[in-house]
Symmetry: C2
Subunit: 385 residues, 2 copies
Amino acid sequence: MTEEPSGGDLSRLRQLNGLAVIRALRDDKALTLTELAKRTGLSRASTEDVARELIGRGWVAEVEPTAGTVGRPARRYRFRADAGRVLGVDIGGHTIRALVTDLDGEVLNSATLAVTPQLGRRQRFAALDACVSTALAGAGVASDQIWSTGVATTGLVDGTGRVMLSDSLTEWTGVDLAAHLRRLVPAPVRVENDSKLAALAESWRGVARYAKDVVFLLAGVRTGTGLIIDGKLHRGFGNAAGEIGALPAAGWLRAPDHLRAWSGGKDEFEDVFLAARDGDRDAVRAVRRYTRDIAVGVSALVLTLDPELLVVGGGFSRSADLVVQPLRRELDRWCLRTPEIRVSTFGDEGVALGAVRLALEQVEAALSGGAELASAEIFGATGRN
Amino acid sequence: MTEEPSGGDLSRLRQLNGLAVIRALRDDKALTLTELAKRTGLSRASTEDVARELIGRGWVAEVEPTAGTVGRPARRYRFRADAGRVLGVDIGGHTIRALVTDLDGEVLNSATLAVTPQLGRRQRFAALDACVSTALAGAGVASDQIWSTGVATTGLVDGTGRVMLSDSLTEWTGVDLAAHLRRLVPAPVRVENDSKLAALAESWRGVARYAKDVVFLLAGVRTGTGLIIDGKLHRGFGNAAGEIGALPAAGWLRAPDHLRAWSGGKDEFEDVFLAARDGDRDAVRAVRRYTRDIAVGVSALVLTLDPELLVVGGGFSRSADLVVQPLRRELDRWCLRTPEIRVSTFGDEGVALGAVRLALEQVEAALSGGAELASAEIFGATGRN
DNA sequence: TACATTATTAAGGAGTCCATCATTATTGAC
DNA sequence: GTCAATAATGATGGACTCCTTAATAATGTA
């Protein structure tokens, strides 16, 4: 939300103060003017002025004053999260998920659709369209009410929203996801890799909320990573940051093979972990070998970035109790300082939440006067030049 | 230089505009009011007002108007880089170097002193003191005229300016460098690892000037790295970012052995490179093996960060023609996208320049109202609350 | 010398913020 | 029920910063 603080007009100052008020209101349920004034550092009079303007713009609303206190009851204000809606979509190999949320990221409705990695491009698009429509309909939101869309997909994504490379989805390389979604929902679209967005979700409202530098490990059938550096998602020059798995020495490609071997070559991993938890020798060994292979690459990430936190998410995080301990031991062997390790609590929904966050980042950029947004009635007025 | 743009007073706006003017003036030699106004986006009248105030504060000076143009000659303004002085110190194993510069980082005087890694703590401190004194005296600057000091040293450094761990310097672990330098020069001191500061120098005014994400490789007797992420030096939670050399798989510890073997175990590397350039089979092979060992770790850094640029500096960068090509080939083998590789042009002075930059960052932080600085006469007036 | 060009100076107006004080609404004690 | 005490609201005036416009000044060229 921070931008270059280059000076300017008086209106620029008003805009900054408006942003400060909104930020204060977003952090709390509702605040009185005096509280707001204290939090923003403005005088009461100015705060009132700013608040009045924000109400006029539709960003802020008044709520019932609370009774029961001494003195004249204060009017209280809240951020109008219901002023707009955003859409977050996760296009995975096995599921497509769409979330409709308000401007606080509060989920209004979600839709999930089972698919397979082998689906062709047209079928996958059809499933995507159906899933989005269901989510919108269930939330009672028309597509032109959506302010911004965020999309997660496997593979490498370029800056314009095109899939540059996807190993795990058939006929997916080269797809222009942004264009497709813009046809579906007339709002700005941003597309990003799923592991990166899962990391973003953790940093937004997950276990990595208070950490500045985070390595996120998506442990599942595929292994992926997302890096949060200085509180922001790090993409890299070619959007390929965190692809340490490409290094053969890291051994990420063969890592799941240890688990596959136990289950007879199939991609069914529930059982290995169950057996390992029951003490099955072979299963325990398979899990340990898997962890050891993963750990080399993770060590490279950790040594490179020296993060405060390592977050483990993805399908295997349900069996985190089996993975975290050996992982920590392995990291202790290689790293100068093993970071704290935490397990994601989002389950399957992390990626989609990250997509929501991506959409919200666009809204916030527009709020501070950067990008454009569809709903110009409200937004255009904010970016008055 | 960017901070949180939280709003506030009207004076805050003036401060922001003052900063914008200073920034514009620092980018150019000298500007007229009209040019300044265009660049800052302010009106001419306001620009004049701001400029007048900055002149009063000592930050800006008027220069001779240029003759020979049509119309009334415009007054021209420049940033007063001579308003203050900063000190940058590089404490290396074999040399201690001190630079005295103005606020533009223009070197006024430099002093170098040869030392050895085996020097005891007291002797090293004595050499340091002598070097700093020489540099100050040669520049005609008294120690209390220094606004800010930056220090580079080998090893891990903590946030308070204490050396947490130094392998290559004897009796250096645990030294409180910041405290020692504050006794020498009464100004705020910041201490940082030498490789990190060399990277900072490249990103400041070296070959990495225009890149946002950079991996800097210090190739020499020791191998070190510095990471620039999103234009800023990345330190890591424990200030240990980039220490990929700790990973045995990276092979950085044994890498110089290939070169040492050629020269009979001594730390004399000039000859190997000379011989290799002359086509000596064994020398060429030694260099290639060295490069191959280095490349694994570099690949890990590159795959992690996906930087735009890889900069090679340090002692071996003088023989860059021999190292860069094989390095690129090795990286092509491992990396998804090999970044552009450039060679530092700073020679030995890069680290000290980075220390200067560290000092200047402190000055700029104080300018934008963050930290405190010694010379309160000028600075205190800026941070008027 | 007149004119075109460009910069400076001055004045008036608008927007934003702050401090202060009178006013209003509510609670709790008598 | 009346009266302090408390705390928020509303209104006024002042200060600061920026912008626009118009008049004035300095230089080069025809």
